[in-house]
């Protein structure tokens, strides 16, 4: 089982991102689960969401404490939240930042992946909403879901031109991160 933790701020769509990964993984023929760390939702407050992916049905209902992957949608969270807490040493943490990965100091042995998702989102969507862009980076950095499955899940959730723009953002981030 692979476990993913999303760090965002209220209004940035962390919960939607978790949902998109769950739908994409299921599209790939795997089982999945996504849920928010239920809080009193306020715009701008730090929020958490989780996703699990497995080859068999998922029964576990506790929160994720030792994630394989962490996605950080807002770099300012690094000052207020221990985003790398519990992250597996062989895992990956994907951070939305305009800095180089080497410039980011985190208490983890896991790979740090830097992506300037805000810039990509502004250029493609015209708005600094980075949740879908970060999914493209996740997909490129981990290969846990297929790009086409992710795109399909985005189009289901956001039909029409909004979906198309989001797919463009996802592809840009994917290509920048995938090697």
């Amino acid at each position: 089982m692979k476990e993913i933790r999303f760090h965002g701020r209220g209004g940035q769509g962390a919960v939607t991102a978790a949902e998109m990964i769950a739908i994409a993984a299921f599209e790939d023929g795997r089982f999945s689960q996504a849920f928010p760390a239920f809080g009193v939702e306020r715009r701008g407050a730090p929020v958490l969401a989780f996703a699990r992916i497995d080859d068999k049905p998922i029964r576990m209902r506790s929160q994720v404490y030792e994630p394989d992957y962490v996605i950080v949608q807002d770099v300012t969270l690094l000052d207020v939240v221990n985003v790398a807490g519990g992250l597996k040493p062989d895992g990956k943490i994907i951070i939305n930042t305009d800095k180089d990965a080497s410039a980011i100091k985190l208490n983890t042995e896991a790979d740090v992946v830097a992506i300037d998702a805000t810039r990509i989102a502004l250029e493609t969507l015209g708005r600094p909403i980075v949740n879908t862009t970060m999914l493209g980076a996740f997909c490129g950095a981990t290969g846990e879901v297929k790009l086409e499955s992710l795109e399909k899940s985005i189009l289901t959730r956001f039909p029409g031109s909004l979906g198309e723009k989001n797919i463009q953002a996802i592809r840009t981030a994917y290509e920048r991160v995938a090697r």
Binding site: A18, E19, A22, I23, F26, G29, F31, S32, Q33, A34, F35, P36, F38, V40, P57, I58, R59, M60, R61, S62, Q63, Y65
Partner: protein, 408 residues
């Protein structure tokens, strides 16, 4: 057991029928497939998404129901009492303070023998204000005369809706049913679910054709007045209907499994309990985490099993006696506490075993109160405590799981 094997075999086949949806959507969709005539509800976290989805179905013309937007939960249940007495199939959903506000009407609905179905998105009761999950709300309503079914996952919470109508509307039962699902944990999770269809549900659930309804052509009264010479018998008849429901719940679960291939247990279900020395008894969404933990402990040679309470009212006394008779020790994990005594399920379970030859330690753990997470590590600690109670005797009959001594 046969049904479980069937389920395993067709997993890939079932995946083709599944969609990843939110728990609340799956429940709303199941309600739609039961075609209720009247829906009345007041939004309250974490139930809100369920009624939002239902009102969307009505607005989009996908569901031909009267959707009453009322001013409170008291009005929600009151309007359903009237509608149900007039012969309508009725649905509501609520949680926590909303359920508390319905309190006196809950007793009216069951006392008038109205087969209303309601989802309770389980949440803690104030004070202090807490919007998160535990089961204090519905456990507190255990004496209201409603049948209470508890769901382990989203699929079960959705599939329980047509089952609930089939149980409730049976002329031998005529009792309202609460389907309880853990708030947020199940209402807000996205996971793969097989959605029901109207056609399938119509084959499973016959139309509601009540004999006694409010009818201007044939005037009758419901729940009006019973003096001491009648009241006891009316309560007895409710009590007796619950006794019949013990069988009906099993029958309906089996019929559902035959048609849909999905089985959640009848009154109870068991997991690796046949040769288990330690048995955990619980209800609701924590069961999934416990099952994973049991697999882990079994691989280490520990004989641990689970008994899941699916029907809390009627209480499955006989089924529990049978399931627990060969265990060495029982640990009850429950998301409620009766302040002034112990967990409600612990009391019920010990009472069920008392007049039997089964003399084993039974200890209880109020857990997950106000949304505190329950982890595999917590379950392991419960099992360790149970083993200690077996080997060295009971030290504490009740222990609050994960109590933070530093805050006391």
């Amino acid at each position: 057991m046969k049904m479980i094997v069937k389920e395993e075999m067709s997993l890939r086949e079932r995946m083709a029928r599944m969609r990843v949806v939110e728990g609340s959507y799956a429940v709303a969709h199941a309600v739609k497939c039961c075609s209720p005539d009247v829906i009345s509800a007041y939004p309250i976290t974490p139930q809100t998404h369920i009624v939002e989805h239902i009102s969307q179905f009505v607005a989009d013309g996908e569901l031909d129901s009267e959707f009453l937007t009322v001013d409170s939960e008291f009005s929600a249940m009151s309007s359903l009492v009237g509608s149900s007495a007039a012969g309508a199939r009725c649905y509501s959903s609520t949680t926590s303070q909303g359920l508390a506000l319905m309190w006196e009407v809950l007793y009216n609905a069951s006392g008038m023998r109205l087969p209303i179905v309601m989802t309770v998105a389980n949440r803690a009761l104030s004070a202090p204000l807490n919007i998160w999950n535990d089961q204090q709300d519905s456990v507190g309503a255990r004496d209201s005369g409603w049948i209470q079914l508890y769901a382990e996952d989203v699929q079960e919470a959705a599939d329980a809706i047509p089952q609930a109508y089939k149980i409730a509307e049976d002329p031998e039962i005529l009792t309202p049913v609460m389907v309880c699902m853990d708030g947020f944990i199940l209402t807000h999770v996205y996971e793969p679910v097989e959605l029901l269809s109207v056609e399938e549900v119509e084959r499973f659930l016959p139309p509601y054709r009540p004999k006694n309804i409010l009818d201007p052509e044939n005037p009758k009264t419901f729940g009006a007045f019973a003096d001491p010479s009648y009241f006891t018998e009316l309560r007895y008849m409710q009590w007796d209907a619950h006794r019949r429901a013990l069988k009906k719940i099993e029958t309906v679960a089996r019929e559902f499994a035959e048609q849909f291939g999905r089985w959640y247990g009848g009154l109870i279900d068991t997991y690796r309990a046949d040769d288990a020395e330690v048995i955990i008894v619980t209800m609701g969404s924590v069961i999934g985490t416990i099952k994973d933990c049991i697999d882990e402990m079994r691989s280490e040679g520990m004989k641990v099993g689970l008994v899941k309470i699916r029907s809390y009212r009627p209480f499955p006394t006989e089924a529990l006696r049978k399931a627990l008779k060969d265990a060495d020790v029982v640990a009850v994990i429950e998301k409620d506490v009766t302040v002034g005594n112990e967990g409600a399920l612990l009391t019920d379970l010990k009472a069920a075993l008392y007049n039997t030859p089964t003399r084993i330690p039974v200890i209880g753990f109020p857990a997950g109160l106000g949304g505190r997470d329950i982890t595999v590590r917590d379950i392991r600690r419960v099992v360790d405590k149970a083993i200690a109670a077996r080997d060295r005797g009971i030290e504490a009959e009740i222990e609050f799981l994960n109590l933070r001594e530093d805050l006391l």
